[in-house]
């Protein structure tokens, strides 16, 4: 068994990192939360981050944390979907198809919020003024984020990217076909 350093995978899948950070920033802008710094991509750990003021509304905090999960997932799926069909159903893919699948997987595999996102959400939720609903919604999300972060050691993020970009089209076709 060989070991591939995570940073190499992150570099190889940099489009997903940029989309992830851009999604954080756009969600901040949407909820009118000031942003102090954005690093879209760097060859270090973390590969990207957004510094922003904590949102006053806890649900907004949750959304800022998990926004990239939705955006990266949807974008990754939409980009890879039509390309996955010729490659995996017709065994007839061309270079453009493989490029789209690479891009789709890259974006989808960076959908998972990072441990930094979880910490940020944790800080926000443990404040005394946090409503019960926000806690009920937020803590499971934090748990899932940590589970995902642990799972990324076992390539869960890559598996997720492949599942979204390749598995989803296959599943939909077998269900609808």
């Amino acid at each position: 068994m060989f070991f591939i350093p995570g940073i190499l995978i992150t570099i190889a899948t940099f489009p997903g990192v940029i989309v992830h950070e851009l999604a954080h920033q756009l969600f901040c802008r949407w909820y009118k939360v000031p942003v102090f710094k954005v690093v879209y991509f760097q060859m270090a750990n973390p590969a990207g981050y957004v510094l922003h003021e904590p949102a006053n509304n806890k649900l907004q905090s949750i959304m800022i944390s998990i926004g990239p999960f939705f955006l990266n997932t949807i974008l990754g799926a939409l980009i890879a979907f039509p390309a996955a069909i010729p490659v995996f159903k017709f065994d007839n893919g061309n270079i453009a198809d493989y490029l789209l699948i690479y891009l789709g997987v890259s974006i989808a595999m960076h959908a998972f919020p990072s441990r930094g996102d979880a910490q940020s959400l944790w800080q926000s939720l443990k404040e005394s003024d946090t409503s019960l609903i926000a806690k009920i919604l937020g803590y499971p999300v934090i748990g899932l984020i940590y589970a995902g972060a642990i799972g990324s050691f076992f390539w869960l993020d890559l598996a997720y990217g492949i599942a979204i970009a390749v598995g989803l089209p296959t599943l939909l076709i077998s269900l609808l076909g």
């Binding site: 992830h20 920033q25 942003v35 879209y40 922003h52 974008l75 017709f90 940020s120």
Partner: protein, 346 residues
């Protein structure tokens, strides 16, 4: 990754200032002291041009994907439906779905192979030849599919004369060859199933049905699923008035291909001959619903209408097909039965 920042407020006795520009006009009710201008500026934290360009690129790629999506999705659904149809031996449906899939993936080995298989069971030899040419020299990853293609190419040898057959009969060019000559050839070439079926067809034309039946049985002894022999058996058994046996062979064909137009229509004729008129009509109509331009079934349907006393529909069908050259010969049989020139039901 994102981090919430509660930027350290200056703990002095001085009046609070904007942490960005030092303005005294800070907006209250927020975690960080920021003036309205800085707050607005930070909410709209600038996105660098290269990131905007990158975003536009991603959106453009997504747009291209969305344009490709409907066509590819439709083709993939067609392939999926074809797979299911093929697994359940509905080869006509399979072939039609595969034609849709092939438009999106004209060079897909899997699609071509599946189309060849479906076309073979539908007796569409033109498509078999076309797809076979496109597949020539291609490598198959699917060993089961390869095995099926090899089986079909072996079977197809019985669909055309062997070199020996051609050489033997080339000397009879423009001459009428007697049955005896063909029978002698069959006797000296017991492995030539094409020759046996060829001779069986000559016997059928001359209404020597017992001889044809014997030859066809011999062919099926070697290869129980040989489609041309099974097709002929249904008709020969019907003509020999062995109607249950005719149904047996029709069902055998339908077991191979549940949408075999010939088997459905021929079975309908046998049912009509058994005076099971309603069932015969239903089957002929089922065949029509699968393919409305199958001349043999047009004639079967005319017979079915006739025996079910739907004379208007029968006459309409006969009139409609009167000018169609492909249907005329088949319809003549129906006309002969209707006019009692040929006795069909006992």
């Amino acid at each position: 990754m994102q981090e919430d920042l509660n930027l350290q407020q200056e703990r002095t006795d001085e009046i609070a200032k904007c942490i960005n520009c030092g303005s005294l006009e800070i907006l209250s009710g927020y975690r960080n002291n920021l003036c309205a201008e800085c707050r607005t500026a930070m909410i709209n934290y600038p996105i660098p041009n290269w990131v905007k360009l990158f975003g536009v690129g991603i959106l453009a790629v997504m747009l291209i994907s969305m344009i490709w999506l409907p066509g590819n999705f439709k083709a993939a659904l067609a392939l999926s439906r074809a797979d299911k149809a093929e697994k359940n031996h509905y080869y006509l449906t399979a072939q039609r779905e595969l034609e849709v899939a092939r438009k999106a993936a004209p060079n897909s080995i899997d699609v071509l192979a599946d189309e060849l298989i479906a076309a073979y069971y539908n007796n569409d030899l033109e498509t078999v030849a076309k797809t076979g040419d496109l597949l020539a020299g291609k490598e198959f990853e699917d060993s089961i599919k390869l095995h099926r293609i090899n089986y079909i190419s072996t079977e197809l040898r019985n669909y055309s004369p062997s070199d020996t057959f051609k050489t033997t009969f080339s000397k009879y060019k423009n001459q009428i060859v007697s049955d005896t000559v063909y029978r002698n050839y069959v006797n000296t070439h017991p492995d030539d199933d094409y020759a046996k079926i060829f001779l069986a067809n000559i016997y059928m034309e001359k209404e020597y049905y017992l001889n044809a039946d014997k030859l066809l049985s011999n062919v099926l002894l070697n290869d129980a699923e040989m489609i041309p022999a099974l097709n002929d058996k249904v008709m020969v058994k019907r003509e020999l008035n062995q109607l249950d046996s005719s149904l047996y062979y029709a069902d055998k064909l339908l077991n191979i291909n549940r949408e075999s137009l010939y088997a459905l229509s021929s079975k309908a004729r046998t049912l009509l001959k058994m005076k099971r008129n309603k069932e015969g009509l239903e089957l002929a109509l089922k065949c029509l619903s699968l393919e409305n331009n199958f001349p043999y079934n047009q004639a079967t349907l005319a017979l079915a209408y006739h025996f079910n006393k739907y004379y208007n529909q029968r006459d309409e069908l006969l009139n409609r097909s009167g000018t169609d050259s492909a249907t005329i010969s088949y319809m003549q049989f129906a006309r002969d039965v209707i006019s009692n020139k040929v006795k069909f039901q006992n």
